[in-house]
């Protein structure tokens, strides 16, 4: 009895479908299916390499477009133009037609060229500008040298005329010489002027000095502003230099050296008139270049701004298009009929939707050939598809983090929705902390839309689990009320069941014990507040919380074990019920169920009224195993026989657990063999015509006769049942397909039995973490209070008030950081473990593989590349 529709209780029903799509509309069909996101296509061309596939050419072309788009993006970032991000919630992109994609490709091609040429001319212009600027500096600085040098012409001449003359000879004598304006040329002195990077100056000087043996006169000045190096776009500090030297050859040498030191040499006239003209000329040219530069820059920016408006959309379109062709590459092509054949998994209940989508696409294209979708029977294991909604998504993620549930087994996330937050709350029980947590969770849910855009990873993680936090906080409020803890203080909600038995001559400091106020009144809800602050509080709460942990653990595990019964019934494996579930259940209950009953029974007996010694349950349980029949302190009459009986019952279950299932399976297998049945996997070995595999396969896949005349691809599909055998062999679906191997089944069952019996003990003990963590949480918050608020509340006066405000801030911050965040995370991890290990091991197989449909939505969400384009 298949349910009318898929529920979250099990993974959705899946069907293997075969699609026959006309070649002309294949792209549109895949596009539509991608929008739908309900089909997972199988790769039918597994033997073809990526290069041999049909649509590789298209993918290459799209890769190129994508590269161009990324180039635009890089250019925009360089120019500082903001990208208009695409908000998928608001903008809906219509599926593009082929011509649109072609246009986009062409357009981006031409745009790329245009931007590249603009960039190129921009760079040349920039270079020109730098050169001119440098020249201007040289002119300005060198002019200074000349003006100064002309004053010393005589002196220089003197030094050149007479090598022996001291350099600084009687300066005043020549200072006002009339021949100041005389040229250097008449003295046969030439010069080289240029610009060099400042960090190279020292080396430059040294080389010059050495090669020319000091026959030079170098003058330099720093350029105050850094110049931009056009090649690297980085500012460089440069110096202007002018070198005077003697003779043409030496000058040529200097030029060469400067070039080798990558200094720029500029032409400077020594005549000041000409130099003035040069400066004017340079300035004019510089202005021209700058205005052209500005124009180029503006054009480039305008172009990029225009692109920036639609770049994100293009990027998404290209990404989708590429995904479409990637998918099409998985299809097999029937040349004779010009159709593409696809195979894939889809949810059975969504088949009508897929069918109508296909119909729509065909109609829109005006094609007479319909696309055909065929459900095919297969013995392959379908993928596990667990539908989620906003609320269950995070819970399902917790489960999936452990493993993918087997197809159709009870979804482990169903009980987790309650048990995980509840067990968390048992450890986190404090009303105050819970309320803060609830506020945070509610705030995250109320401002869901704006907060969704936050990309800060840590917050995104918490935000993702906002509904878990909500349920956890709600349960924590309940457990906080039960524990009667609010920031480690108690609430006097009801009248206490205790009253202090104060002696007549009471002195402060005297120990007082409480007595029951009224034998017929008990504290109705939660822990009596009289225990708070009592000297023996921990004695009581430890015993209470420890027992509670055992009972809750027992309940959790029993519940989980029951789910294995539901699984066995659903998969129609009665042997799992008789050979696994039932003996396991009896074993567990006869030991730990009995313990729980004893705990509850012990609570219900008024031991003082009947005047007996209450027995220690731990000792009782230990003696039950070590010395069956020995009762230390009796709990109830006839206890001896009950315990021996239960122990025997438990021991008997072990061989049943061990042997029933494997031997039953063997018996079943042998019976089937005796009747002449063969297993499906054995077919090819049975067949006498080993090489005629096709024939066998076709005989099996009866409904595929119509296509077997076609080419390679179709024959391959017909062989499908033989492929992927590795895929099927895993898991432990004994007797359900696959070869029967008694040894394997036996070993598996032995492991299962040992594991189960040992786990019953260790898992029950593991639940004691509930007690340990709730104790730690309660004690920690008590310590925090006594170290901050406790003393602060005792200080009186205005100083006390100020002190209180400060201390409260500290108290609140520490509460949030340590008690809520840190303790919360630790309690969550412990609760997670209880769900994953203690609970799941009782019923879930986790032998499935996840359903990963071809979906644009998922593609866009998961793509790292597109992330920066999506708002």
């Amino acid at each position: 009895m298949a349910p009318a529709r898929d529920t979250p209780f099990r993974s959705a029903d899946m069907s293997m479908v075969q699609l026959y799509i006309s070649n002309e509309i294949s792209r549109e069909v895949v596009n539509a299916l991608g929008e739908l996101g309900l089909v997972q296509f199988r790769d039918l061309n597994g033997d073809l390499s990526a290069f041999q596939r049909a649509f590789t050419q298209d993918i290459r072309r799209l890769d190129n477009v994508e590269r161009q788009l990324r180039y635009f993006h890089a250019q925009m970032e360089k120019a500082g133009i903001p990208l208009r991000k695409l908000d998928l919630d608001v903008d809906i992109l219509a599926p593009p037609t082929t011509t649109e994609i072609d246009e986009l490709a062409e357009r981006s091609q031409s745009l790329e060229q245009r931007i590249a040429s603009l960039n190129e001319s921009y760079e040349t212009l920039k270079k020109r500008e730098v050169e001119l600027t440098e020249w201007r500096w040289v002119l300005r600085e060198a002019g200074g040298f000349f003006d100064r040098a002309h004053g010393n012409v005589e002196e220089i001449r003197a030094s050149t005329d007479d090598d022996d003359a001291p350099l600084l000879q009687d300066v005043e004598h020549h200072i006002s010489a009339p021949e100041v304006e005389r040229s250097f040329s008449c003295m046969n002195i030439g010069f080289v002027a240029g610009v060099i990077a400042r960090d190279r100056v020292a080396a430059f000087e040294r080389i010059l000095w050495r090669t020319l043996r000091g026959n030079l006169y170098m003058n330099q000045a720093e350029i105050p502003e850094p110049l931009i190096d056009p090649a690297t776009n980085e500012p460089v500090q440069k110096n202007v230099f002018v070198i005077f030297a003697h003779g043409k050859e030496i000058l040529a040498k200097i030029r060469k050296i400067s070039e080798s030191m990558s200094a720029e040499v500029y032409n400077v006239d020594e005549n000041s008139e000409l130099r003035r003209d040069q400066v004017h000329e340079v300035n004019a040219r510089l202005n021209d270049v700058q205005s052209v530069l500005r124009n180029t820059q503006q054009t480039l920016e305008a172009e990029l701004t225009q692109i920036s408006r639609s770049l994100s959309a293009w990027m998404v379109l290209v990404g989708k298009e590429k995904a479409v062709y990637d998918t099409l590459n998985n299809f097999s092509y029937d040349r004779a009929r010009r159709t593409l054949i696809a195979e894939g998994w889809c949810p059975t209940h969504d088949l009508p939707l897929i069918r109508s989508t296909l119909q729509d696409v065909t109609n829109r294209a005006g094609l007479s050939v319909p696309s055909i979708i065929n459900e095919i029977r297969t013995n392959k294991k379908p993928p596990t598809y667990l539908k989620t909604n906003k609320f269950t998504e995070a819970f399902q993620t917790i489960v999936n983090a452990y493993g993918t549930p087997t197809y159709h087994e009870v979804n482990p996330a169903i009980p987790v929705i309650v048990t995980f937050p509840f067990l968390f709350a048992v450890m986190f029980g404090d009303l105050g902390h819970a309320i803060i947590m609830l506020c945070a969770a509610l705030a995250m849910i109320y401002w869901e839309k704006p907060l969704k855009k936050v990309t800060f990873e840590l917050f995104a993680m918490v935000f993702y689990g906002r509904y878990i936090a909500l349920v956890m906080a709600a349960f924590s409020i309940y457990t906080g009320l039960i524990y009667n803890d609010i920031f480690s203080k108690s609430m006097t909600l009801f009248k206490s069941q205790w009253e202090w038995d104060v002696p007549k001559n009471y002195r402060p400091g005297q120990t007082v014990t409480a007595v029951i106020r009224d034998p017929n009144y008990r504290y109705p809800f939660g822990l009596d507040w009289r225990w708070h602050g009592a000297e023996n509080e921990l004695l009581f709460t430890n015993s209470y919380k420890m027992k509670m942990s055992i009972i809750l653990g027992w309940a959790h595990m029993t519940y989980s074990l029951c789910l294995s019964y539901i699984n066995a019934r659903h998969f129609k494996r009665p042997v799992d019920i008789w050979g696994n579930f039932l003996p396991g259940m009896i074993f567990f209950q006869s030991i730990f169920g009995y313990l729980v009953i004893c705990i509850i029974y012990k609570w219900t007996v008024d031991w003082f009224a009947i005047g007996q010694q209450p027995p220690g349950l731990l000792n009782m349980l230990i003696y039950m195993f070590l010395q069956p029949g020995y009762i230390d302190v009796p709990l109830y009459p006839g206890q001896k026989y009950v315990q021996i009986g239960l122990l025997l019952l438990a021991v008997i279950q072990v061989p049943i657990l061990l042997f029933l299932k494997p031997f039953y399976l063997r018996w079943e297998h042998n019976r089937a063999r005796a009747k002449g049945y063969r297993e499906i996997g054995e077919r090819s070995r049975v067949s006498a015509l080993d090489e005629d595999d096709d024939g066998v396969a076709n005989a099996n896949g009866g409904d595929r006769h119509s296509v077997d005349s076609a080419g390679e691809g179709v024959a391959m599909i017909a062989q499908d049942p033989d492929d992927d055998e590795e895929e099927e062999e895993e898991g432990d679906d004994h007797g359900h397909g696959g070869k029967f191997n008694f040894g394997e089944v036996m070993i598996h069952q032995v492991i299962h039995t040992i594991e189960f019996c040992l786990n019953c003990v260790s898992h029950t003990a593991s639940y004691l973490r509930l007690w340990a963590l709730s104790l730690a949480h309660q004690q920690l918050s008590a310590v925090l209070w006594s170290m901050t608020m406790g003393p602060a509340l005792k200080v009186t006066g205005i100083g006390g008030a100020i002190f209180l405000v400060v201390v409260f801030a500290a108290f609140f911050c520490l509460t949030c950081i340590i008690l809520i965040i840190m303790e919360g995370v630790s309690a969550m991890l412990h609760s997670l473990r209880l769900a994953w290990v203690e609970s799941f091991s009782k019923f879930a197989e986790f032998g499935g593989w996840p359903f990963a449909p071809f979906s644009f939505k998922q593609l866009l969400e998961e793509s790292e590349e597109l992330k920066e384009y999506l708002g």
């Binding site: 929705i417 402060p508 007082v512 017929n520 504290y523 822990l527 009972i551 219900t604």
Partner: protein
């Protein structure tokens, strides 16, 4: 008022609530989710309350303290 029978009363109330949750869960494909979550929650809460109540039903030890203030004692 609140004596040993309260646990039974509480159980009955919780069972009634669970039955009501079974029938009044919103219809639709998430009905199973509603039912399982609500009933499990009721069961968890009942268990916790009942355990706490039973633990205090016939206490073996009584609260004891020696820092009671005089003014508190006589009221």
């Amino acid at each position: 008022m609140a004596n040993g029978w309260s646990v039974i009363t509480g159980l009955l109330i919780c069972v009634a609530m669970a039955v009501a949750a079974w029938f009044f869960s919103p219809k639709g494909e998430n009905q199973v989710l509603w039912r399982s979550s609500i009933i499990l929650s009721i069961a968890c809460c009942f268990l916790m309350w009942a355990i706490t109540f039973l633990a205090q039903l016939h206490p073996l030890i009584a609260p004891r303290r020696s820092d009671l203030r005089e003014e508190y004692v006589h009221h």
